[in-house]
């Protein structure tokens, strides 16, 4: 499937220092791979005047120094990179296992998700942890993953009134999306479980467990396992 992949990249102006480049108009693995390929090429051999490259789902932002380069030069350069995608040499995507204790105190909304979809709690857990989820992009908060591919049978609206505080590690569902809150924050997602892993810790040599292009697989664990992991390397 490569629906929505543009034949030619489209360019947009995002102020005096950022050129936005779009490779398609869908949330799609092929388009996302192209974004990551171009990002890797730009980082491997940074063109003069390019200060920062930020990838997202289907587009990337190139921050440049207008004293050194121009958007016209950058557009030509970016078109050239499309001929060299096979040189991008992306790291092999990894599947990162995220242990999750579903339901109970950690997933107070799991019954509502089950009821909304005519399932029982065990079915919700089985469906949610069945297949890996591609990380399309990371943003909004440190380590927050925008994941693809939530099974249609679990789609559930957000809470009418967001919670004032959601604990870090909480796993939630909002419409067609699932994700993990990396930090304590307010939030309106339906909470179905929690991971004891600390997804983001600036004090660790590697502050994050994953990067864009990897996949996350949720693995159901007991509350005893939750405590054990939490004591070992969690919060």
């Amino acid at each position: 499937m490569s629906g929505g992949l543009y034949v030619e990249a489209r360019f947009r102006t995002s102020g005096d220092r950022v050129l936005l480049v779009e490779y398609g108009d869908a949330i799609d693995l092929r388009i996302n791979e192209k974004v990551r390929d171009i990002t890797a090429l730009l980082r491997k051999d940074v063109p003069a005047g390019v200060q920062l490259v930020l990838p997202a789902y289907r587009s990337l932002a190139v921050m440049y120094d207008p004293v050194v380069t121009t958007p016209v030069k950058l557009q030509a350069l970016l078109r050239g990179l499309e001929e060299r995608l096979d040189e991008a040499d992306l790291p092999a995507p990894r599947t990162v296992e995220i242990p999750v204790c579903y339901g109970g105190e950690f997933g107070p909304d799991i019954q509502q998700v089950a009821d909304h979809n005519g399932l029982d709690i065990q079915e919700v857990i089985a469906i949610h942890s069945a297949q890996p989820y591609h990380i399309y992009t990371i943003g909004f908060a440190p380590g927050f993953c925008y994941l693809g591919g939530l099974d249609r049978r679990l789609h559930t609206p957000r809470l009418a009134t967001p919670r004032v505080s959601v604990a870090a590690g909480s796993v939630g569902i909002a419409e067609a999306q699932t994700g993990i809150y990396p930090l304590d924050s307010p939030g309106g997602w339906r909470l179905i479980g929690r991971t004891p892993l600390k997804l983001f810790d600036a004090r660790r040599p590697a502050p994050f467990f994953y990067q864009t292009g990897d996949s996350l697989r949720f693995v159901a664990i007991s509350s005893q396992d939750y405590r054990r992991i939490q004591e070992k390397d969690g919060i």
Partner: protein, 313 residues
């Protein structure tokens, strides 16, 4: 070495440098001084490099006790402040010694003042920056705004041979003019563009380091334009139009967003937003990208002139 003891912190006083740029692809926003001009100038006035950390003081300032000799400078928002109960000038360096008491009052014009000290505020860098990001608990003192009882450290640096003074400095008006380049999604707003560039908007009280929410006439999108788009990287100065038609200027604690953006404020005018207060009025003026690049070069020249003017003193 410790240079200040905090007796009262003010409502929101944080340590900021130029920002944290290397982890935006991991969702870590750039942060950094919201008014880069005032931040840079404060540093230059005490002989620091521009990327040293300063205190960003929001609207109302702290009370500090000086623990050792140093040069300080206060720039940005026009703020009543006193050293040992004597009114003190801004945009100039001042020598302080052990036992001096620094007391800030309220901002009279502008919103954010910057206090620089010899050597800069030397908290440990986190992910390449000392900037405080309260939402993620990063940088500064334990990732939070300063509080009473904190001891603020400074880095090594030489005292000035003579006092430095800015020969000129900005005045922050309540009518603010922002130049902006249309895009990235200006095609979603045909009539809305006309409204956006010809109306007066008021800064609401929802205005912080994440973004400035404005109030004014409804900026309408085209009937067939989407309310939201697939989330894309955002930059400071992007003006997004959420479904309610009231603009939000994005600032430094954002990395990605899914609302359409009608225009983007030029780099040279970002400091004006940092100094805007609730109730201030904003007008946007459309400029071409070529013009915006010329303004950017003028802005760099301006900064260079400040640097030269201060370094020869």
């Amino acid at each position: 070495m410790e240079i200040f003891r905090v007796h009262a912190p003010g409502p929101y006083t944080t340590i900021q440098d130029r920002g944290r740029f290397d982890y935006q692809h991991m969702g870590v926003p750039p942060s950094g001084a919201l008014d880069p001009f005032a931040h840079t100038t404060a540093n230059l006035l005490v002989g620091n490099e521009p990327d040293c950390a300063t205190l960003e003081i929001t609207f109302f300032g702290p009370h500090l006790e000086v623990l050792d000799t140093a040069d300080i400078a206060v720039t940005g928002a026009e703020m009543e402040w006193r050293v040992n109960d004597q009114p003190a000038p801004q945009w100039t360096s001042l020598r302080v010694v052990q036992g001096d008491r620094i007391q800030f009052g309220q901002a009279l014009r502008g919103c954010r003042a910057y206090l620089a000290v010899t050597g800069g505020f030397a908290v440990a860098p986190v992910m390449g920056s000392r900037s405080t990001l309260v939402s993620a608990g990063l940088g500064g003192i334990d990732g939070r705004a300063i509080q009473a009882g904190d001891l603020l450290p400074r880095g090594p640096g030489l005292l000035l041979a003579r006092q430095r003074r800015m020969p000129w400095y900005p005045r922050y008006a309540a009518q603010i003019h922002l130049r902006a380049v249309p895009g990235p999604q200006d095609e979603c707003f045909t009539g809305g563009l006309e409204t956006f560039f010809s109306s007066v908007f008021t800064v609401s009280d929802k205005a912080n380091r994440m973004g400035y929410r404005l109030q004014g006439p409804l900026v309408a999108r085209k009937a067939d334009a989407p309310q939201s788009i697939i989330s894309e990287p955002s930059v400071p100065g992007n003006v997004q139009i959420p479904p309610d038609g009231q603009p939000i200027i994005l600032m430094v604690e954002q990395t990605i967003g899914g609302y359409t953006k009608i225009a983007t404020v030029v780099t040279a005018d970002l400091f004006k937003i940092a100094q805007a207060r609730p109730g201030d009025q904003i007008r946007f003026h459309s400029v071409t990208l070529d013009r915006a690049h010329a303004l950017y070069r003028e802005w760099l020249d301006h900064l260079q002139n400040v640097r030269e003017a201060l370094s020869v003193q």
